[in-house]
Amino acid sequence: MGKNDQPVVSMSGITKRFLDVTANRDVSFQLHSGEICALLGENGAGKTTLMNILFGYYACDAGEIFIKGEKVNLSAPKDAISRGVGMIHQHFALVASQTVLENIVVGTASRKGIFLDLASARQALVRLQERFGLQIDPDARVWTLSVGEQQKVEILKALYRDVDILIMDEPTAVLAPAETSDLFNTLRSLVQEGRSVVFISHKLNEVMDISDRIVVLRAGEVVAERKTSETSARELANLMVGRELLESIEKTERAPGDPVLNIKKLNVLNDKKLAAIADLNLTVRQNEILGMAGISGNGQTELSEVLFGMRSPSQGVIEINERSLKLGNPAASIQSQMGRIPEDRIGTGLLMDLSVEENFILENHASAAFQAYGLMKSQKIHNFSDRLIKAYNIKTAGRDAITKSLSGGNLQKVMLARALAGEPSLIVASQPTRGLDVGAMEYIHQRLVEERQRGAGILLISDDLDEIFALSDRIVVLYEGKIMGEAPGATASREQIGLWMSGVMA
């Protein structure tokens, strides 16, 4: 781990433009052997772009790349792979319908003549699994695996290609705490063998924990570089955002009012027809944020789908403002004064190929405010959209911009703006800050607290404990579809919540 020897990767003067955005501007970046270097930056700062350039997936407009001392011209990922660069993408790059083994061997030289040689590939894979403790059934189809397991497949896929420079783009965004610590153990054993890792994450405490060095990007430029031992999470947050962040969210004391959401004896089956929610009872009141903690996969997704009308429960009653909700009917949920923030903003929350404006009115396009006799009232809609873009400070080329051109944080703001525009009395927010940078997260948290002050009741479903503790008036823990325990937000202890989350009744 010599500090003097030449870096394994050296990028200099990298510039990359997409039409009107400059994603990277004159960026220089070094990676040394045996180190874990973290890349930090707000949503849209250009982290993924920079690493895609190193992986040969994007071609840079200007700049030079040296890998292991040799100047390279990467025209496709295979050029980078052949030099030992591997990348695990933010959205996994696996074929869901194929087996683990097939996903791992595709594109490699595992063959006899023209035939696939799965037998020896399997042996090689098993050896790798033993060496790094990454147990996974090689014959399982990828769609049956949890995200944590899929991550392991991605790592094995890279190791199988004998990668010694591993890029991980937000690998922990969807992992449970235990899975994250497994991943960190793997990463540590990788660098001990002299490999190098680039680690991208928005979770500052993880970055402080795992990295040796940190490079901060802002608006496409490198703004700082620190040794991890010589910085703090707070300094990093301020460097990323370019301003001082609030120490904590301020909440005034409010007595909870009438119940806005009442769930009675709810039973829900998941896609595999197994019980996802069992006999759940829950109440959310006015002026209250109820935080629902729990490791993802314990029924949170199914619960939010039922509330949003996207899934029918097998049994149970849901009352909103003391009126019972027609179940399994999204239109009924919208009309019930519920602000809906689904966890999968790309899949279910927004239509990525429509404009920002069209997404704003998606739920209400049929209301009298926006149409008359089936004709859209364009001017009203334009005004409405411009108002929201301004109020929520959404960074976009304009209301007509195609939604997929927005960064993750701004997509979330679009959903939030849409959900809160009608001043809902109940807000169901599912993983509202997943994958968002600290600045965007702070903004969303502030908005939710403001809604609470206004009088809304909020059900906050999150697997991020920091978020739960920062916002909740009351905390419940969901474990295997049941409430394991309940505690007041002000006095709950992390240890207790952590135990409940892992199913321990103490």
Binding site: Y58, P77, L94, V95, N103, V106, G107, G347, K404
Partner: protein, 316 residues
């Protein structure tokens, strides 16, 4: 009339006809499976088959060599497959539009070239078509032998292609690459597979099979070229691909069912039962719709089908 149905000669003849009528569908469906597995829906299939039928006929007529005709039909199929690749892969145009465009273009072109060559004769020119070959031993099996194992050489080739394509797709490195490109081109690209090249080669090879499937109709089934010789068999092949869940073997079963209905219809006509061919042509589609209702939840549609791939285009 019942007695006539149960007649051994009738049954044997029907089995033979089933195999014959299934042959062009098998060729075309295998070609379509290859291209769709790589993520491209080739709606040019009907036009490519017609061009294959015309080219095969014209080259056989001029050269006197029927195998030369088959070869020429395959080459024309490859050219049109390549044209489809240029439009839908390289230029990234809509696969629907490119495919339908090719069918319209090829339909016009086939008639144009035929007229250029033969003018408008009152009696259509004919060629000496393929002869059926009885397989030794097998064709001597009682009842089923004479029907099943006295077939055109192209039919035997079609049957060999079914396991060959299955092995290619599921047992070779190339097959894994093709399937990966069809399921998720991003994944394929990031493991170093050339997406555009893979799709192009599949379209070219698939086009060859479609061309030969068309040629079967003018060089074996009939001995002349008529503009409606394909009669929607290209669309039937696409339906069979869906019916067979993109699996060569299952699609072949679908093709056999079609061949059976087609053969039955001819037999029934010959013994005096009058029923429109078009009614029978409907049946495979009805079958597909019914089958799709049953299998759609488990349908293995290649996930990357219909999606043009450009590397720097931001996805969803």
């Amino acid at each position: 009339m019942i007695a006539e149905f149960l007649d051994l000669a009738f049954i044997s003849g029907l089995m033979g006809a089933t195999m014959r009528m299934a042959t062009p569908i098998i060729f075309a469906a295998l070609g379509e499976i290859l291209t769709e597995r790589a993520g491209v829906l080739n709606l040019g299939i009907e036009g490519i088959m017609l061009m294959g039928a015309m080219t095969g006929f014209v080259f056989t007529y001029s050269s006197g060599s029927i195998w030369f005709g088959v070869f020429a039909a395959a080459c024309v199929g490859m050219l049109l497959g390549f044209l489809m690749a240029l439009l839908s892969v390289n230029l990234g145009l809509s696969q629907h539009v490119s495919g339908l465009g090719i069918t319209l273009f090829a339909t016009g072109l086939a008639m144009f070239i035929y007229r250029l060559h033969f003018g408008s004769p009152t009696v259509p020119p004919i060629i000496q078509p393929f002869k059926q070959v009885a397989l030794p031993v097998l064709s001597k099996i009682p009842v089923i032998g004479p029907g099943l194992f006295t077939q055109y050489t192209l039919t035997y080739i079609a049957w060999l292609l079914v396991p060959a394509l299955s092995i290619l797709l599921y047992k070779t490195t190339i097959g894994l690459k093709i399937r990966t490109v069809g399921e998720n081109p991003v994944v394929a690209d990031t493991v170093g597979v050339n997406v555009a090249l893979t799709r192009t080669l599949c379209l070219v090879a698939g086009g060859a099979l479609m061309g030969i499937g068309g040629a079967f109709l003018t060089l074996a089934h009939q001995n002349m070229f008529l503009i409606d010789v394909i009669g929607g068999r290209g669309w039937v092949a696409i339906a069979m691909v869906i019916f067979g869940n993109w699996n060569p073997l299952k699609a072949t079963i679908g093709a056999l069912i079609f061949g059976f209905l087609d053969g039955l219809q001819l037999r029934l006509q010959s013994i005096g039962v009058v029923l429109s061919f078009h009614l029978f042509l409907m049946i495979p589609y009805l079958l597909t719709i019914i089958a799709l209702i049953g299998v759609s939840r488990r349908a293995a549609v290649p996930a990357g089908l219909l999606k043009p791939y450009r590397r720097e285009e931001k996805g969803g």
